[in-house]
């Protein structure tokens, strides 16, 4: 019974939060609602006894959304409304609505026709992280390693792009400039 109540509460909160994300014109509202929505999604994992994935959801999205906030801070005055320039609102609404509908149908169809079953059901006595590890390092080893290599490539590229002047400290440099201006 309590699972049902929790499920519907979390569903309602998640849907409302993501509704705010797409409908609000204030960047701060959108980002806070995004963070809240991402964290409430972890509730579903906890309800399904997937504690590990639930916690990973919280940790990953805390860091990720935090980085998004940083961009928000750099590009907008977050206490004011953002003026959006949408030329064809009806078309945008139609396309995004259709995409969402197709996604929902694609994921709901197997559930309705009852063809969904677990390839790797939970084994009794195996803890959550172990279960994830077993599947990752047997069945999905190649995609896992490919993803790791791609992340490494992205990281190296990021360092090379950003690291051209890594040895100079911006703070110290500004202080030197101030002193040069002061001496003139």
């Amino acid at each position: 019974m309590i699972e049902t109540i929790a499920f519907y509460t979390f569903s309602a909160v998640t849907i409302v939060m993501f509704w705010i994300v797409v409908s609000s014109k204030n960047a701060l509202y959108s980002m806070s609602a995004l963070a809240a929505g991402m964290i409430t999604i972890s509730g579903f994992f906890f309800l399904l006894d997937a504690d590990f994935l639930g916690v990973v959801q919280i940790i990953v999205y805390t860091g990720a959304v935090m980085a998004l906030y940083a961009f928000g801070m750099m590009f907008f005055d977050t206490t004011r409304e953002v003026k959006e320039n949408i030329r064809a609102p009806k078309l945008v609404f139609l396309l995004s609505g259709l995409t969402a509908l197709i996604l929902v149908i694609a994921f709901a169809a197997p559930m309705v026709s009852d063809h969904i079953k677990a390839f790797y059901p939970m084994v009794e006595g195996v803890q959550n992280p172990q279960a994830v590890g077993i599947v990752l390092f047997t069945k999905y080893l190649v995609p896992f390693e490919v993803a790791a290599v791609m992340l490494l490539v992205a990281m190296i590229a990021g360092i090379i792009l950003a690291g051209k002047k890594m040895d100079e400290s911006l703070t110290l440099k500004i202080e030197e400039e101030f002193q040069e201006k002061g001496s003139k």
Partner: protein, 331 residues
């Protein structure tokens, strides 16, 4: 145990933990002022009650009765929610921490842990990290330049220390082979010589350093550094909303004390002749005192120094530590 019994037991545990930890957080402010005063050859609070003991109560009355000001031009809902996030996450994180060993009262065995999930330590660290949404939202919503600077520093701080915390805690977890705080505690049941800190001294030091950044305590208290950015994210706050940030901060310090003692210092196992319950309280008190001691002894660092320290010094050491631990375990 039936469902209603379980529900009642859980609610009682939650209320007791909320009450005790917020009282301890309040008393922590008194201790901090006394310890700092002692180290700086002052007296500290002396006037309210014997040795200023009732100062906490006076502060509480002041905070609760002060006018709750929400300035113009702020984003009001976010401005009002932010302190609640800070305090709530600090207490939710305590839900997965086993505070004391099992004990029996009136013939009922009590497990002093609200939710024994098998990924306890990750849950606590994740919740403590998401607690930084409090200062971030506060700074961004308050339409104040100091606030915005405080919020920017929050992001820097989170992105710097989170990697170090995760990697430093990974090496002891590899030894234990479980993420449950109770399993980690039982691994060290053999007594003083079995404490993980002897096997993982580097990880312990890294975890403590990252812990200072996590609870934004003094060498790394960039978010509300008075000398540079007035009061940072809390500039526009007053009354109880301001107080909630600090209840959250002190509760986080206590949580971090529990984490460090459970993972590295033998947890709530009996320590020689000292029973387990008392032993863990002593360890947490020592770590709390250590926080205050560092505050009296160390200057602040600059934000770029914090990033330099976390990414260029601590993270490579943590990675090396994990690699070495892996090799030792394989042999």
């Amino acid at each position: 145990m039936t469902f209603s019994e379980f529900a009642i037991a859980t609610i009682i545990k939650i209320l007791v933990i909320l009450g005790v930890i917020s009282a301890m957080a309040g008393f922590g402010t008194y201790l901090e002022r006394k310890v700092l005063a002692f180290m700086q050859r002052r007296l500290g609070p002396m006037h309210v009650g014997p040795y200023g003991l009732l100062q906490v109560l006076a502060d509480g009355i002041k905070l609760f009765t002060k006018e709750d000001i929400v300035p113009q031009n702020t984003v009001k809902p976010i401005f009002m929610i932010a302190p609640i996030i800070s305090a709530a996450t600090a207490f939710i994180a305590l839900a997965a921490v086993p505070l004391l060993p099992e004990f029996t009262v009136f013939g009922i065995t009590v497990h002093p842990i609200v939710a024994d999930i098998n990924v306890g330590i990750l849950f606590v660290l994740g919740l403590m990290a998401s607690g930084l949404f409090g200062p971030l939202l506060a700074g961004m919503a308050s339409a104040n330049k100091w606030g915005l600077l405080g919020a920017a520093r929050t992001v820097i701080q989170l992105l710097s220390y989170e990697v170090v915390t995760g990697l430093s805690i990974l090496a002891p977890l590899m030894l234990v082979g479980s993420l449950s705080l109770i399993d980690i505690n039982n691994y060290q049941a053999g007594g003083f010589a079995e404490w993980i800190v002897w096997k993982q001294p580097v990880a312990f030091v890294l975890f403590l350093i990252a812990g200072f950044a996590e609870t934004n305590r003094t060498p790394f208290d960039l978010l509300e550094h008075e000398a540079e950015i007035v009061s940072g994210y809390a500039t526009e706050y007053s009354g109880m909303r301001w107080g909630m940030f600090f209840i959250g901060e002190y509760a986080n310090m206590i949580t971090l004390g529990f984490l460090a003692s459970l993972v590295f210092l033998g947890g709530f196992n009996d320590w020689g002749f000292i029973p387990g319950g008392l032993a863990i309280i002593l360890k947490v008190s020592f770590i709390f005192f250590f926080f205050l001691w560092t505050r009296a002894a160390w200057p602040h660092v600059r934000p770029d120094q914090l990033m330099w320290l976390c990414w260029k010094v601590l993270m490579p050491i943590a990675v090396l530590n994990v690699v070495v631990t892996g090799f030792v375990l394989m042999m």
